[in-house]
């Protein structure tokens, strides 16, 4: 066994993991905010953040004033959005893996991403103006929502929702939507590049409004799923045992399915499709603190925030040219996941 896991239920708040993760997140936020075309020292960043919070504007015409606007109007919305999206995708990953009782599930397994992509593609193709700059996000959100409804409808069988039915329905619906998206790209002519670019995900020019929308959905999603976190543990024993331990597996599955899909839908509609975060982060955290969802949910949320923040910082500030974040996360997350997957037998994960 690689690391002794003390899973005494009595100490589930224990361990310094959360404190460390939280500190890492704060430090990352400060460092990352200073990076970019205009370099700002961490001390200045803290000063500017403090001034912003207490509402004290710097003197006009100074360097500080420029930095102030760079940070508060350009960088922070983007960085914070990346953090929250990373947290919400990781949280959704934990939930999907638990309710589908399948460690290989991720927020996109049930086709939520395909639905969002389809909605966004339509909005981009038709270039709908009446909803302003948010039309793509709104279409993406409703695309994801309709997909979820279709998947639940397909998989429900006289009131019961089994995980296998859900996964199969998700695959079917995703395949159909993928074909639809291909068709839209085919007829899109010169707009095809816009669609492709959106699908690869980006945090470029995110605003405070988008940050608040994702934050609210993530916060509500976290409250709901954390409330049920102990019940989620029981799902691992199978529906029959879970039932005898006082929960209704089908009802719990529906509640969490809707919760996780909603937060995924909001995230995807804000930032496009960012893969692998929701798959890899739960695995990584399960290594470190074990599979108890009471710890895994908050830890994965924090870790997801740190990881996507850094992924976005790399593409924004360190690479000579910005590459789509979805490509970057897949390039880093993919090989890492191969490594875990190949070693799973040795470390006792997943049978």
């Amino acid at each position: 066994m690689p690391m002794a896991r003390k899973n005494r239920a009595s100490s589930y708040w224990g361990g310094p993991t959360f404190l460390i993760l939280f500190l890492v997140l704060i430090v990352s936020l400060i460092i990352s905010t200073g990076k970019g075309y205009i370099k700002i020292s961490p001390g200045t960043v803290v000063d500017i953040l403090y001034r912003g919070i207490i509402g004290e504007l710097p003197d006009k015409g100074t360097n500080l004033e420029i930095n102030y606007y760079v940070i508060w109007q350009v960088r922070l919305p983007r960085i914070l959005t990346a953090m929250v999206v990373g947290g919400s995708l990781s949280m959704a990953g934990v939930i999907f893996q638990a309710i589908l009782v399948n460690p290989l599930a991720d927020p996109y397994t049930l086709g939520v991403s395909a639905g969002a992509a389809f909605g966004a593609s339509i909005a981009l193709l038709l270039n709908i103006p009446f909803l302003g700059i948010y039309s793509v996000s709104i279409f993406a959100f409703f695309g994801a929502l309709l997909t979820l409804v279709a998947v639940i409808f397909l998989s429900s069988n006289s009131g019961d929702i089994s995980s296998n039915n859900l996964i199969l329905s998700g695959i079917i619906v995703s395949a159909i939507l993928a074909a639809c998206i291909s068709f839209i790209k085919y007829i899109a002519d010169e707009r095809v590049s816009v669609i492709i670019f959106w699908l690869m995900g980006s945090f470029n020019s995110k605003t405070w409004i988008e940050f608040f929308v994702v934050s609210i959905s993530t916060f509500i999603g976290f409250l709901i799923s954390f409330y049920f976190s102990r019940d989620i543990n029981l799902m691992t024993l199978g529906d029959r045992s879970a039932s005898a331990l006082g929960i209704s597996p089908s009802r719990l599955r529906i509640i969490l399915l809707i919760t996780a899909s909603m937060i995924t839908a909001v995230s995807v509609s804000v930032s496009g499709i960012i893969g692998f975060v929701g798959l890899v982060v739960p695995h990584l955290m399960r290594f470190i603190i074990g599979p108890d969802n009471r710890k895994l949910l908050p830890a994965s949320t924090l870790a997801g925030a740190v990881i996507l923040l850094w992924a976005d910082t790399i593409t924004r500030a360190f690479l000579p040219r910005e590459i789509p974040i979805g490509v970057l996360t897949a390039l880093i997350g993919g090989p890492f996941f191969c490594f875990i997957f190949k070693r799973r037998k040795n470390i006792g994960f997943y049978g």
Partner: protein
């Protein structure tokens, strides 16, 4: 009729158009070990599913301690009935100890610490079922029989008046099977628990059960005291295979062999 703890009254259950249970009525008494026997697909597991409220019968009702099962909340059911399921596959790397802790969840309010009493119960179950060596191991790294012992321990930790066992020793070696069946037999004797166990091994059923229920095609073929119903005619009728009943073993229990 105070001894009756569980009453099944005219239970009927369908999967689609397929009738799995047909008008089943049975009484189970407190402090007895019941065996449920029958061929594959005869409705044994469905019967247990209905008792834990996992499935709802098309018609008929169930009473536990003279109270209709519909009036039980999920939490009350969890404190009354536990199950050792047939399927013991666990997909996530929980430690053995944390799996057994799950049996105590119904007694611990959400977000509160478990308390000494629950710790003692978990420790005792781990010790009683000889799981000390496996305690901190990951469930995903254990063999089939070991996993089954852990899942069994989890159900025992739930400490309910009624324990349902669905082929709960199918993957264990004979020493562990007998050890664990002796253990639960003692729970029946010493603590007045009621056990309803599905068996495929008829000889084990004969050794341990006070009463047997034979089910075939959703009907009860026979039910009654083991020494009465463990006989050639009933077994052959249930399984459609010839058999031979022999001797009374030193314990006074009958055993059988298949006659093929």
């Amino acid at each position: 009729m105070d001894k009756v703890i569980l009453t099944l009254n005219k239970l009927t259950f369908n999967y689609g158009n397929n009738r799995v249970l047909n008008n089943i009525s049975l009484d189970f008494e407190k402090g007895k070990f019941y065996g449920v026997l029958g061929p594959n697909g005869c409705g044994k597991t469905t019967l247990l599913d209905i008792i834990i409220k996992y499935k709802v019968p098309v018609s008929g009702n169930i009473k536990i301690k003279n109270k209709c099962i519909k009036e039980y909340s999920n939490e009350e059911i969890a404190k009354t009935v536990s199950i050792v399921p047939q399927d013991f596959y666990i997909n996530f790397p929980f430690t053995v100890e944390s799996i057994i802790w799950m049996g105590r969840y119904p007694y611990i309010p959400r977000f509160s610490s478990p308390g000494e009493e629950n710790k003692e119960i978990v420790d005792r179950v781990i010790e009683d079922l000889e799981l000390c060596d496996l305690r901190n191991k990951l469930i995903t790294k254990l063999s089939g029989g070991e996993k089954q012992r852990v899942v069994f321990a989890r159900a025992i930790a739930q400490n309910t008046p009624i324990l349902l066992i669905d082929e709960g020793t199918s993957n264990m070696d004979i020493r562990h099977s007998i050890y664990i069946l002796n253990y639960v037999k003692n729970l029946v004797k010493d603590y007045g628990k009621t056990i309803i166990a599905v068996f495929h091994n008829l000889n084990l059923a004969s050794l341990y059960c006070d009463n047997l229920v034979f089910i075939k095609n959703g009907h009860i073929i026979a039910s009654g005291k083991t020494e009465k119903v463990f006989c050639k005619e009933i077994i052959e009728d249930t399984f459609d295979v010839k058999c031979h009943i022999y001797g009374e073993s030193s314990t006074g229990k009958k055993q059988m062999i298949w006659n093929i």
